[in-house]
Symmetry: C2
Subunit: 309 residues, 2 copies
């Protein structure tokens, strides 16, 4: 009998380590890729979503995150026999809608001229009593991502730098927690788009500073307006540095991953390598662990990036 | 100290298993990808080349294979402190030349209007006494590839079908040997381009039947004129079937690997999945192991294939 979906135990896989020696020679220092692109939903977000779905008692979940997190939430709910609604703008790209519906997730479209996503979520929570409203900044999400930090720590070799894409902060904070849980003291560096540099500005200010509007960057996983409130204290305490990456370096990193490591990455997934390209002095003479968070990218965009050089 | 090349022990990595559930749902039966695309030289050929270089006493090797095998041979020689010459047509594409020179392999160009590759090899063997002339059909090459068959056999689950790209036959025969060594009796199916169907014709004839000329297929790893003499008896005895794959299915398989499994594959690497698309009745209701042999593809060709649909 062919079972199209796995058991809850096999919902996500251990990460994939790739010692990328060709890339290392190009850069001049050793680099190991840690790629989450072979997870069923194409990104690390399944670790976050699954930990939430498995650990809340509510049979019904609501989120406003229609990207990798919403997709992963729909998948985790399907496998764990729960339900979810993803509340999304009516302008949500078809690809994202399809990705959520692939796992039978429901989508509630909101015309943002009439009400905000949060207003609609509030209405829904009144309608569905006991529903769990969640986001990548759910404390359970961060705990879920910690498994990736523990997997990195379980490698025999230690890394002097672990460089991680930075959006709302769930990935970076989860990895920090997982590394520290395991007694690993590698320096963790966040990589965010220069065009969405709220994290770097928050660090300078010592408090969460939002972007004025949704930032314009090809790294769509880092278009969040502000760092998450749960991620923030972990990041502020533990991140060694934040690199602000120009858009052109993100594209170049995607090309290098394709050409030197045979790896498909989404723009957000390539932020870590882009940070290495942008500020090599932070990584020189170090052994670097570079986290590639996902590969969900529109084929036309990917092609257009490959073409340039 | 940054060592740009590994020790001989770390010259190749264990293969990467990807349970490709999204692809499985698309096809209607379970499929596990076994991908060699994250080897340093981008293909399984490093297993073949390394086993040769490690096991011949000659410090100097000669081959006429300028593709994945020549590249892997140069790499294995570099790491194991031997030397090699790749004898190639003067029309050899720049990408291939660069890939060999990346590992300091020497290339000897031959103007095919003046002499054949084999004539030049004969001259070189007189010049370099004791050199080992090798090819993917070297018995040591096939023994080297057997490690991949053993790795597949080492998975706890058994597969009813193992589908493998078929060019000169080194990969398929090595996998068969490795599986059988381990007591594994999975049916192994070869996948070759319809435009280069010498293996299928050889099977019907019961003897090696060559292509008349170098076949025109995008699967450049299967453009060999004939099956290898060492691979042939193993294949003839052990292959369950051979699927002849139309060119369009090769391209479609590359797109499916990209879109449903986030995997970059070269055309030859996608032959296994292309066979599944071409003759689904051979795989229906079976658990399928699909070997993706490599990812060395010209970016422009890859893009042009992604664009179509």
């Amino acid at each position: 009998v062919f079972r199209p979906f796995p058991s809850p135990k096999a919902l996500f896989r251990r990460t994939t380590f790739i010692p990328a020696r060709r890339l290392a020679r190009h850069l001049g220092f050793p680099i190991t890729l840690v790629t989450e692109t072979f997870q069923e939903t194409g990104s690390f977000a399944i670790r976050a979503a699954d930990h939430i779905v498995a650990n809340v008692s509510a049979p019904f979940l609501i989120t406003t995150s229609s990207g990798n997190f919403g997709r992963a939430l729909a998948y985790a709910c399907l496998v764990r026999k729960k339900s979810c609604i993803v509340v999304a703008p009516s302008t949500c790209p078809t690809r994202r809608v399809q990705a959520i519906r692939e796992y039978y997730g429901q989508i509630e479209f909101v015309d943002l001229r009439l009400k905000s996503l949060d207003e609609r979520v509030n209405e829904l929570t009144r309608e569905f009593r006991g529903a769990h409203v969640t986001s990548p900044d759910d404390p359970l999400a961060i705990q879920g991502v910690a498994s990736l930090g523990r997997e990195i720590a379980s490698l025999k070799r230690t890394f002097e730098r672990v460089v991680v894409p930075l959006g709302s902060g769930a990935l970076a904070s989860g990895i920090v927690l997982g590394l520290r849980d395991s007694g690993n003291k590698s320096f963790v560096i966040g990589a965010e788009p220069l065009a969405a540099n709220d994290a770097a500005r928050s660090f300078k200010a010592g408090e969460i500073v939002p972007n004025e509007t949704e930032p314009e960057t090809i790294a769509d996983g880092a278009r969040n307006v502000r760092l998450g409130r749960c991620a923030w204290p972990i990041l502020y305490r533990s991140l060694f540095d934040i690199v602000e990456v120009p858009e052109e370096q993100i594209a170049e990193a995607m090309r290098l991953l394709f050409n030197f490591a045979n790896l498909k990455a989404e723009p957000t997934g390539a932020l870590g390598l882009a940070a290495v390209l942008s500020e090599p002095q932070l990584f020189r003479d170090c052994s670097v662990c570079c986290v590639v968070s996902g590969a969900n990218v529109c084929p036309a965009l990917y092609q257009s990036i490959l073409v340039e050089s």
